[in-house]
Symmetry: C2
Subunit: 251 residues, 2 copies
DNA sequence: CGCCGTATTGAAGTCTTTCAACGGACGTGG
DNA sequence: CCACGTCCGTTGAAAGACTTCAATACGGCG
């Protein structure tokens, strides 16, 4: 168990949905904290709870979500090993966090965290950067939800998760999907059926192949990236052309 | 002009799309900076530009947006007088900012800003809070885009803008809409036609009445709030009921 | 006063959702 | 070790919401 946690810890992430960057000095803050365990479906905290702690995820995956008064659920992100959770909170948690599988975390009190950050000139930029990355990820998600169709959404999601898996040291292009289809649907703003249908469509196209229920193997990564619709992420040429392209319509 | 700018400056905002809080000590940073003027449709900065400055909006409205490679545009927020722009940036701007009408801003170099923040124990929490508010707003927008239909989206938007107008000292329930329908559409993830149709539907219901092209008068504020679908924003009852409500489907 | 860009309205089309049934995997218990 | 039940995922068909295409109307500005 210890060895396992150690290897997981050495993993890092970049560009993931909510807050995951490469290992930085922030992790040293948690190094001495004891680990805590959560089992699948266990809730770490509720939306509206007093935001007392900041968490480092050592192992496993969490979903962070909001529930609307009428019961509709929105998943605003998935958090994996190496991610830090709770930096951008106010006095109350703005969403709920729930374990998808078995999760190991370390906890730091908000007070202690703020004290450390105030006193360290090295920590401050790291915190700042992390929040900025979180914000950028949130913007990406808004773009996805505003303009992308089902196929583009799923491809975007799979691409990000694939990149994460590869950074974690995966040797094959296999994307682990510990969450259920409903989680994916609630994250992408689709229904479970549409996710399922789109997945089989991608399989038929030869983009991917199911690898058990909770993983997919990516067969054509370039095609996946094209279908994701992010293209080359805004190149210089497009920029100068922008002015004349203003009349283009939405969607 | 000066007097006008002064009154505008005393305005504050809370809970607006991207970054607008009540007046706080951050504004003192800009007090000595000279004002700059932008005319309608003028671009303050481009997505991808080196993020050299932080801005305080003294007057007017900006749209912040991202352009996808294929030309699709997403507006991730509108910024009004009193808002501060650019705190959550990395080394490059993650979106473009463009004036909707005539805009007055003050500018502070990123370097100077960071220096001030590092040295002031009062400024740091203010910056932190602002970024957290921005994050919360981004999450709200994700919820809107994920789960809400056209009517709910438009009502949510109008409600936020109405609250802002009232805080700014508006005596009547009139929402100024300096942006075009296309802007609203790109912000809400809809088409211009759907925005238009939904607007007239709301007028027929007696919720609002057009007041020229760039303003609407809200006639039934409570109904507007109900139609926005945010309800009472997550009450305690619902929370305990959540566990048993897990089987609910998306949308 | 007339023009041009913006907004509204109508009708058809498309994508996703909804409703419904089936299939398959996993875990428990016999 | 297999049987069975349950949960999750897949597939099909119909319905619905929004988009798209197209024409018309409004409103500000020269």
């Amino acid at each position: 168990m210890f060895a396992q946690a150690a290897t997981t810890k050495s993993a890092f992430a970049r560009q993931a949905p909510v807050s995951s960057q490469r290992r930085d000095c922030l992790h040293t803050l948690f190094a001495k904290q004891p680990v805590e365990h959560l089992s699948a479906a266990q809730i770490l905290f509720f939306q509206g709870d007093a935001a007392a702690s900041i968490f480092e995820i050592v192992q496993g995956t969490l979903r962070i979500m909001r529930i609307l008064p009428d019961g509709r659920r929105v998943i605003t992100g998935f958090l994996h090993a190496g991610d830090i959770l709770g930096i951008s909170f106010k006095s109350q948690y703005i969403y709920s966090a729930e374990a998808i599988n078995d999760v190991v975390i370390r906890r730091l009190s908000r007070k202690a965290f703020e004290k450390e950050v105030a006193s360290s000139d090295e920590l401050r930029p790291a915190v700042f950067k992390r929040m900025s990355d979180e914000m950028a990820a949130a913007q990406d998600q808004m773009v996805l939800l505003s303009t992308k169709n089902a196929e583009e959404r799923l491809c975007s999601f799979l691409l990000v998760e694939l990149q994460r898996a590869l950074r974690m040291g995966a040797r094959e292009a296999v994307v682990p999907l510990p969450m259920t289809r409903l989680d994916i649907a609630d994250y992408l703003g689709l229904t479970i059926e549409t996710v399922s249908r789109t997945m089989t469509k991608l399989a038929n196209k030869g983009v991917l192949a199911a690898s058990g229920r909770h993983a997919v193997k990516i067969l054509r990564r370039t095609l996946l990236a094209q279908l994701a619709g992010d293209g080359d992420e805004w190149d210089e040429d497009r920029r100068s052309a922008y002015g004349s392209a203003e009349e283009r319509r939405a969607h």
